[in-house]
């Protein structure tokens, strides 16, 4: 069964929210419906399905990796090449703290950016069905559906105020 994607363009967010509810009532599964917008809306504005993301894990894992690298680098080198100075402890904590902090932050930052790209599914080589009016403030309602149901989805979107409906080529 051939799949397609439809984009309904709404100037008024209320129309997009109504169209999303109507599509859900007509049996389009929530995971096949998405919203494109030029600025963020508070969660739940459109009554949309909130797909969970795990971005919070990336900085956390990055920080732990960085801390471990910093600890290994500093402690292991001092233990491998022990030079006791004036009877002081072998591990010099103050400079180790600086280095471990640097490594923790550096890795947390790198992992966060990787996480942002992964969780946002970026980079995208093709924009797919899209309209430049979205970055002007229009709301794009995306529906992924079998080819034979696209006419029904289009009718619903137009009925509830879509100015334009585009179909993926």
């Amino acid at each position: 069964m051939a799949e397609t994607k439809l984009l309904g363009l709404f100037e008024d967010p209320q129309g997009a929210a109504d169209a999303l509810s109507a599509l859900r009532e007509e049996g389009f599964p929530h995971e096949d419906i998405d919203i494109y917008s030029g600025s963020p809306f508070p969660e739940g504005t459109f009554g949309e399905y909130e797909a969970p993301h795990r971005l919070y894990m990336f900085p956390l894992v990055g920080a732990m990796v960085g801390f471990a690298v910093g600890l290994l680098l500093t402690a292991a080198t001092q233990i491998s090449y022990p030079i006791v100075t004036g009877g002081k402890p072998l591990l010099s904590i103050p400079p180790m703290t600086v280095i471990m902090y640097e490594m923790t932050m550096l890795h947390a930052i790198i992992f966060t950016v990787l996480g942002i790209l992964f969780e946002s599914r970026l980079p995208k080589r093709r924009l797919g069905v899209y309209d430049t009016r979205i970055t002007e403030g229009y709301i794009g309602l995306i529906v992924a559906c079998p080819q034979e149901r696209s006419a029904a989805a289009e009718t619903t979107m137009r009925r509830l105020g879509a100015e334009d409906v585009k179909q993926e080529a």
């Binding site: 600025s39 508070p42 949309e48 909130e50 900085p59 400079p95 966060t112 946002s120 995208k124």
Partner: protein, 459 residues
């Protein structure tokens, strides 16, 4: 207000579409005045490189000739590079007024590249750590050079990635609306195919907070390393536990001042009066006043410790930094960083204007430059053989800048401004999506006899 006690109605805000098209049209425009500034700043930056070459000709064996180089580096770090603190802080606290000015602050993150480049020769000129009281405790393993560079690289990354991630939706807007050109292709590449779906916006929100938070967490670390390696450890007998915190605060004050001055320039010469209004200047003048008061508090806490101690080592430190050869420089920065802002910004009409906070901020920036020179140049002027001692035996005279110092300082500051100017034509200088989001959250309502703006919370 009318004579009958009724206030003027508040005009309806523009739509997202109007903002997007207007801001992108301004972004697209490259005037001849813009190119004149690019050429001027570029020429001054080249002059700075010549100044650096002359300075490098003196070699790296002595710290003394590098005092102004380090002072300039610290100045840029405490002003331009610190500016994203404003954006990250205001985004974390969800301040509504931030929307048109966050990008201005974030674009300054790129000046971290200038600091990183200046840090390499500065570290080369540092005397050996062995036998000198510092935070590295004869640690080895590339300290301090490698770890200062790693820390600065991490902060540069945090700032630049914050700028990029937050700007993704506006780069997509530039991709969509600019006519085909090299700039449009660059915007398209940098936008990475952003379409603004629900999941991406949620990730974008959290990611911008994490990166902003990382920037805020790294800034004090680097101020600590700079102040420890280039100031505290070079002046024997100088034991000031709160000095890194003082320099972090100086950076926060400098960040706000830099943002205000840039806001004024962008508003006045970039044609963004519609977006950057009195609200933004008024709101930022309050932390500026608070940081000016804290500037005095932190200085006073340090000064008083030495003043009451009065051991020979402490008297020498007081002479070197405050009461001796640099007393006029110190007095000037005391006036420009504390007294001036206090006396000006305590008045509501001054705070509630565009000119008031801008003039105070220019003063703060001059004061911060003088302060950086006093702090780092005086420390670098301590005789090499005294650096390893327990107290300062001879207070060195003022180290006046020579031609190479002036060229280097002017060139590096110009290069930081140039980087901003160039980047502002790649990334829109106004955060279109943030302004657009804000417009939806504001409604003008009648409230008994007047009109008020009601602002909704977005999260």
């Amino acid at each position: 207000m009318h004579g009958d006690g009724h206030h003027e109605p508040i005009p309806d805000p523009p739509s997202h579409r109007e903002v997007a098209l207007d801001a992108l049209a301004k972004h697209q425009q490259v005037t001849s005045a813009y190119w004149r500034w690019v050429l001027l700043l570029g020429a001054l930056a080249v002059l700075g490189v010549v100044g650096f070459v002359i300075r490098a000709g003196d070699g790296f064996d002595e710290m003394k000739p590098w005092g102004y180089h380090v002072g300039t580096m610290a100045f840029i770090f405490s002003t331009f590079t610190a500016a994203p603190i404003v954006s990250a802080g205001l985004r974390l606290t969800k301040a509504h007024f931030r929307r048109p000015i966050t990008r201005i602050a974030e674009l300054h993150a790129l000046s971290g590249l200038i600091v990183l480049l200046m840090l390499i020769p500065a570290l080369r000129a540092l005397p050996t750590l062995i036998g000198r009281p510092d935070i590295w405790f004869d640690f080895g393993l590339g300290s301090p050079d490698s770890w200062e560079l790693v820390a600065m690289t991490a902060m540069l990354l945090a700032g630049v990635l914050l700028l990029w991630v937050v700007a993704l939706p506006d780069l997509a807007a530039a991709r969509d609306h600019m006519p085909p050109s090299a700039r449009q292709r660059l915007a398209s590449t940098l936008s990475m195919g952003w379409v603004g779906n629900l999941r991406a916006w949620r990730v974008h929100y959290m990611g911008s907070l994490v990166l902003g938070g990382s920037f805020l967490l790294l800034y004090p670390l680097i101020q600590t390393l700079f102040s420890s390696d280039f100031h505290l450890s070079l002046v024997p007998g100088l034991k000031d536990a709160i000095f890194p915190a003082t320099m972090t605060l100086v950076g926060m004050q400098g960040a706000v001042a830099t943002t205000i001055v840039t806001m004024f320039i962008v508003r006045r010469f970039g044609g963004y009066e519609r977006y950057i209004g009195v609200d933004q200047f008024w709101a930022l003048s309050k932390p500026l006043l608070a940081f000016s008061l804290l500037w005095f508090y932190f200085w006073w806490a340090s000064f008083l410790t030495f003043w009451y101690g009065r051991t020979p080592a402490e008297v020498s430190v007081l002479q070197l930094l405050f009461l001796g050869p640099y007393k006029f420089v110190f007095m000037a920065s005391l006036i420009l960083n504390f007294l001036g802002p206090l006396l000006a910004l305590m008045w509501n009409p001054v705070r509630r204007s565009v000119w008031g906070p801008t003039i105070v901020s220019v003063g703060v920036l001059i004061g911060t430059w003088l302060n950086s020179m006093r702090v780092y140049s005086s420390a670098a002027s301590v005789r090499s053989e005294e650096v390893f001692g327990h107290y300062l035996e001879t207070v060195p005279p003022v180290q006046w800048p020579d031609l190479a110092d002036v060229m280097l300082s002017v060139g590096a500051i110009s290069a930081s401004a140039l980087v901003f100017l160039l980047a502002a034509k790649i990334v829109p200088v106004i955060s279109i999506w943030e302004v657009g989001e804000g417009l939806r959250l504001v409604k003008v309502r009648r409230f008994y006899h007047r009109w008020v703006r009601v602002i909704a919370k977005s999260h």
